[in-house]
Symmetry: C2
Subunit: 366 residues, 2 copies
């Protein structure tokens, strides 16, 4: 049996199955630095420690050892299926009959890096910036469409000392299709153990320290930064209960006692900004806890501060939500029963205002 085993980027990521397979193996084939993570469980085994670049030799060696009846473990960092050796392995193994082989999945850099940054992921693209074997035009096309589709993007192998061109192209392409203020997370593993992470804006990415042990995570148009964490909201509502003042407001609303549009007679007008539509003076989504709107919690008060959110006060948003409510929401209870449709409508209209507000601030602590 040949087992191609992913061990993540640190000792602590190794899975129980990976440990079992390594312990059971007679022979271990690994790029040298990976051995450090498993030193204590490979004593007494045949060790074949090789440098980078001779992938073919490693697979052929594994086959040879397997033919001798040995259990062979080939060690890969991260997950073997994502820019690991799994692909080449299957291309070659197919030469032979009666070979037993398997892939043991591992923790890949996108998830590990995300965990160091906060919660930046939602629908995402994982793209390698290595153009050693992939034409640069192919990489560029992938980045372009990931950006247009507004996927979160994780870049692997972003840059080496000699290979800098794809990174230049990536920065340029992203700035062409994305907001330059978009939060970007940069996670580097140092000496295979320590994790260093930083967050910057897309327009600043080009000048950050980045190497081959770095993973870069580019936010989508909803990603924001709060208290040093990079967060991409998925659209949940954080409470099911509307606050009392909001309830009172919507009782009036359903009785037709609310003024539609701008209410410049109000003693607080303009409370957020001077061109607002006051129809939803009390937001039906309060507290959304969604920093992509510009709002943030007032720490330890359980109060959501929407001062910087103007989304629900834009004419085009009010029109869309009002149309939906008139058609579908007849009472307070309907805010609950129609909750998911309302949340989707909310998300769709936020998307539209994102396109309008190209200079929104996604860094809430600034």
């Amino acid at each position: 049996m040949i087992s191609l085993i992913g061990i993540g980027s640190k000792r602590e990521h190794i899975t129980l199955k990976a440990v079992d397979r390594i312990k059971e193996a007679d022979a271990i084939i690994a790029y040298r630095p990976y051995l450090e993570h498993i030193q204590d469980i490979i004593e007494g085994k045949e060790i074949y420690s090789r440098g980078m670049g001779d992938e073919m030799a490693r697979v052929e060696l594994a086959v040879e050892l397997e033919k001798e009846g040995k259990k062979v473990a080939i060690i890969s960092s991260g997950d073997p299926g994502i820019y690991g050796m799994a692909n080449v392995y299957f291309q070659i193994i197919d030469k032979y009959s009666n070979l037993e082989f398997e892939v043991i999945p591992g923790v890949t850099a996108a998830t590990y890096s995300a965990s160091a940054l906060g919660a930046p992921l939602h629908d995402l693209a994982i793209i390698s910036l290595s153009n050693l074997l992939t034409p640069l035009e192919e990489i560029e096309r992938k980045i372009k469409h990931a950006a247009i589709g507004d996927l979160v993007i994780a870049f692997y192998n972003p840059k080496s000392k000699t290979r800098t061109e794809p990174f230049e192209v990536a920065c340029k392409t992203l700035l062409e299709y994305k907001n330059p203020e978009t939060p970007v997370g940069i996670v580097t593993t140092v000496d295979g153990t320590e994790t260093v992470s930083r967050i910057c804006k897309l327009k600043e990415l080009h000048d950050q320290p980045i190497d081959m042990n770095t993973t870069i995570i580019i936010g989508n148009s909803m990603t924001y930064v709060r208290k040093g964490k990079m967060i991409t909201p998925r659209g949940y509502k954080v409470t099911t209960q509307l606050p009392e003042l909001t309830e009172q407001f919507y009782e009036k609303f359903f009785n037709g006692d609310i003024q539609i549009g701008k209410n410049s007679d109000c003693e607080y007008f303009p409370c957020h900004n001077d061109q607002e539509n006051c129809t939803f003076c009390y937001c039906p989504f309060y507290p959304c806890a969604d920093g992509s709107t510009g709002g943030k919690w007032i720490t330890d008060k359980n109060v959501w501060n929407c001062k910087n959110c103007n989304w629900i006060h834009k004419d085009e948003v009010v029109d869309e939500i009002l149309d939906y409510i008139k058609e579908n929401v007849k009472s307070m209870d309907d805010f609950d029963t129609k909750k998911k449709d309302l949340l989707k409508l909310r998300r769709a209209t936020i998307y539209k205002t994102k396109d309008l507000d190209f200079n929104r601030n996604y860094f809430l602590d600034e």
Copy 2:
């Protein structure tokens, strides 16, 4: 301390750090079925086992327990950052000061499912088909651009008993932009332990048995199936040594003794198909071991059979490669020193012929 812990989709995926954190915890909060995987390491702890859907309640409970000075472990399947609870968790936790929290990454379904299918991944998009909180138009846009960018695509949460529309839209959108013969892998976890996988063609995807425990992996335009495994080649060359007959051919080639274009006088003409360009009678990339060309190994003979590959015999490919060789390859040695540029050129021209050959067979065993 609150630890949000990903345990993958099976017991065997749990990482060493996850085990440590679970063992250290005073209180465990988990969706009920996940507890089975960790039963042996949670004895004697406070267990809060809750159903799906009350994510908010779980986070608030965790905060409450943490404030009492307890170590809390919230258990998530897969990775907490990919459609897990990490995003909501950060949205709420931000309410409080002095809370310690961390995310422990896990093995996500894309990598785990890929390992069951073979090696289908390269640059990829991960997209959830759940439209509970995400507007269907947003999902559709993401699928469209992932398809145009030719990313491998992993679909999470593809379909439930009541939620089938996004899956319909996904199938339709993919068929609009991708070859209907594209290999698709379908991996379902049954009872949280057993893994069932199957491979079909994109045009057959719509009628496959699929549920919420299924992950779907859509190949890119180079993905092929051989011996029941789904493989996406990354562009490596599997040998560095050219075979002897090939060497002899290229000696003649460099002496100008090779006929450019169709050689219908050859006794073997047409050896593959009747419109071929014979310039590269011996392929400079032999044996490429790349099934996306239609070639395959003759098992146990170490012979690569290119009978079904016509890529290197297409006029437009010959022109491009010939131009490069005339400019850059002056001797046999240059095949090695220029290897990476040649492989990139190869990949770029294969891409172009993929666009031409919309009905290529990617299922090599058929």
